[in-house]
């Protein structure tokens, strides 16, 4: 079982690394890069929302902070926004500490909506603090590197780092503790788990990688404004969509979800004219209705069932 996973992962990595040999067109590369960005955000959200069960409606806050960390370096100090790839995730992580302090006192929908409120507060602050952020006029840069290949491989490295980190966290004591907290917080406490601290252990990397994706986004898309990177429906809610389409609390779910979100969205957009969002909406409804655990989630369930059946049939034979 475990070996199968490793083989699959290696094959996938090989595929991803070699893909540009076959897909050379900049437009296709662009789509792949968008998928990578969303995979990273999704994987990061999944750690907090999926594994630890703390559904956040405010991840745009971290995404925006990461993006602005990169953008403001350029805007105020004319420092290459690539340094944002360091500063962005750090800024997002630092901010996540007080956010955790406030929000982790709350549970369930109260937590979700408190995060929503914080995300909105950040959007409004970045819109209104014009002298610091340039407000709604946003930050426009001319990227130093325009070739897609560079962004693709950098993004891929970023995704690999995110996946690996979450994988290691999830398959460790911390991971067990996070899932325990999700399943029953009182029971977790009774097992000596400092729940708030462990939630922070999930929030911190989650914010970190979301911020990293934000900084990458700034460098890649080259323009941000508060309404874009702190957007409630287009970032905070979409990341939930990405994770749930793919499969909550699964390693590959967010990546699969991101691929579906970007690829199908783009397919519909370029073929269906102004009905594209309608069709996409219908598809989202159908997927979640018929695959309520997301694509990867449902596959995992099927595999588990198959394994159980195999076991019982073996036992029966013996």
């Amino acid at each position: 079982m475990k070996n199968k996973n490793i083989v699959f992962t290696l094959l996938f990595a090989l595929f991803a690394v070699l893909l540009p040999l076959f897909v050379k067109a900049p437009y296709q590369m662009h789509i792949l890069i968008l998928i990578i960005i969303w995979s990273v955000i999704g994987t990061a959200w999944n750690l907090l929302g999926g594994y630890a069960g703390q559904v956040s409606f405010g991840h745009a806050a971290f995404f925006g902070l990461g993006a602005y960390a990169a953008g403001l370096l350029k805007f105020h100090y004319d420092i290459s926004p690539w340094w944002g790839m360091l500063l962005g995730p750090v800024a997002a992580s630092v901010i996540s500490l007080p956010i955790g302090l406030i929000c982790f006192r709350l549970r369930g929908p109260y937590f979700a909506l408190a995060m929503l409120a914080l995300g909105e507060i950040f959007r409004l602050l970045f819109t209104n603090l014009t002298s610091f952020t340039n407000g709604a006029r946003g930050i426009l840069i001319m990227p130093e590197i325009t070739g897609k290949m560079f962004y693709y491989y950098l993004g891929l490295a970023m995704l690999a780092l995110t996946l690996l980190t979450t994988y290691l966290i999830v398959h460790s004591k911390v991971g067990y503790y996070l899932v325990s907290i999700r399943e029953d917080q009182d029971a977790a406490t009774s097992l000596g788990i400092p729940t708030t601290r462990y939630k922070n252990y999930a929030l911190l990397p989650s914010a970190f990688f979301t911020g990293l994706a934000g900084a990458f986004y700034m460098n890649y898309v080259a323009f941000i404004d508060p309404n874009i990177v702190f957007n409630l429906s287009n970032v905070s809610v979409m990341v939930i969509l990405v994770v749930m389409l793919g499969g909550v609390a699964t390693t590959w779910g967010p990546t699969v979800g991101a691929a579906m979100y970007i690829f199908l969205g783009e397919l519909f957009r370029t073929t269906l004219g102004s009905a594209n969002v309608l069709v996409f909406g219908i598809l989202v409804c159908l997927i979640i209705m018929f695959l309520p655990n997301g694509v990867v989630g449902e596959i995992n369930i099927l595999m588990k069932q198959a394994a159980a059946r195999k076991k019982t049939s073996l036992a029966g034979g013996a």
């Binding site: 559904v55 006192r105 109260y110 909105e120 999700r182 409630l232 939930i240 969002v277 989202v284 979640i288």
Partner: protein, 291 residues
């Protein structure tokens, strides 16, 4: 003093409007625990129904409301019965997976409205749209005042309905333990369907009452969804009275913020108050209202 008075009056009336928009959410999210991101879109659909009644048949929005409500009741029932209900029955890792479904529904409703009505901004100008009463130098918008009273009446009716009638109690019971409700002879699927229907109808009512003084286009729902969430939580999930008070608190906070800080920061003021309430009254305002 006039400024302060005017601000508070505005806040209270705005709070009434907020309560009106949020009251359906109180039922759907507060009582049934369904985080419904399509709420604003349902308000929007209700507004279009009222709009059509007005433009095509000259029916006043206050009367059109009584047409929009059954229409939305029906739509809500269908959504619950054929879509959301499927998810209630599966055991998934995050019960919030219905959130995604409501995102899909939101997109479908919004884009369907765009297909039918185009993206044009529309509005309904009634004779009373801009009616005002003056209290000294302070002006009071008549349609807002009406909306305020209707919001309070709806709140009261809903509160009585939920606590004093068998259907109301069955709604709450089903939300708390579906199987146990069945043991008591409650047709829980029907009850959930009706609840979503009522919630949607109330969303429509909010939209209809807002129509004479606001405007309408397919994406207007976004404005309402977040506010409704905040009010419902502020009130303390499922408490109708709490939600009404939550609406008022938010309205007054925003108005004071707009006057004394800046219009750009008014929403921040509202959100900060929201966070403070959550932190210091973890059960929301209902813990005060109740006692």
């Amino acid at each position: 003093m006039v400024l302060f008075g005017q601000t508070v009056i505005c806040g209270i009336l705005l709070g009434g409007m907020y309560a009106l928009i949020a009251i359906g959410m109180t039922l759907i999210m507060g009582v049934m625990k369904i985080i419904n991101l399509a709420h604003g879109a349902l308000v929007m659909v209700g507004m279009y129904v009222t709009y059509v009644c007005f433009k095509e048949f000259g029916i006043d929005p206050y009367i059109g409301m009584f047409l929009a409500m059954p229409v939305l009741f029906f739509i809500g029932c269908l959504i619950q019965k054929y879509m959301i209900n499927r998810l209630v029955e599966v055991d998934s890792i995050l019960p919030e997976n219905q959130v995604l479904l409501t995102v899909g529904i939101m997109l479908v409703l919004t884009e369907s409205a765009r297909l039918i009505f185009k993206s044009d901004y529309r509005s309904v100008a009634t004779s009373y749209s801009s009616k005002v009463a003056f209290l000294g130098d302070m002006s009071i918008s008549v349609p807002m005042l009406t909306g305020f009273f209707i919001a309070m009446i709806f709140t009261l009716i809903l509160h009585l309905f939920l606590t004093k009638t068998d259907i109301g109690r069955s709604i709450r019971a089903t939300a708390q333990d579906r199987d146990a409700a069945v043991y008591m002879g409650v047709n829980s699927s029907r009850i959930t369907m009706i609840t979503f229907g009522i919630g949607s109808a109330l969303a429509a009512a909010g939209g209809s009452l807002l129509l004479p003084l606001f405007y309408l286009f397919p994406d207007i729902g976004h404005l309402f969804t977040a506010k409704s969430f905040i009010i419902t939580i502020l009130g303390g999930m499922g408490s109708t009275m709490g939600a009404a008070v939550g609406g008022l608190v938010l309205g007054i906070a925003e108005s004071l913020g707009a006057t004394y800080i800046s219009m750009g920061y008014k929403d921040i003021v509202g959100l900060v108050i929201f966070l403070l309430v959550l932190l210091f009254l973890p059960g929301g305002l209902k813990s005060i209202v109740k006692r």
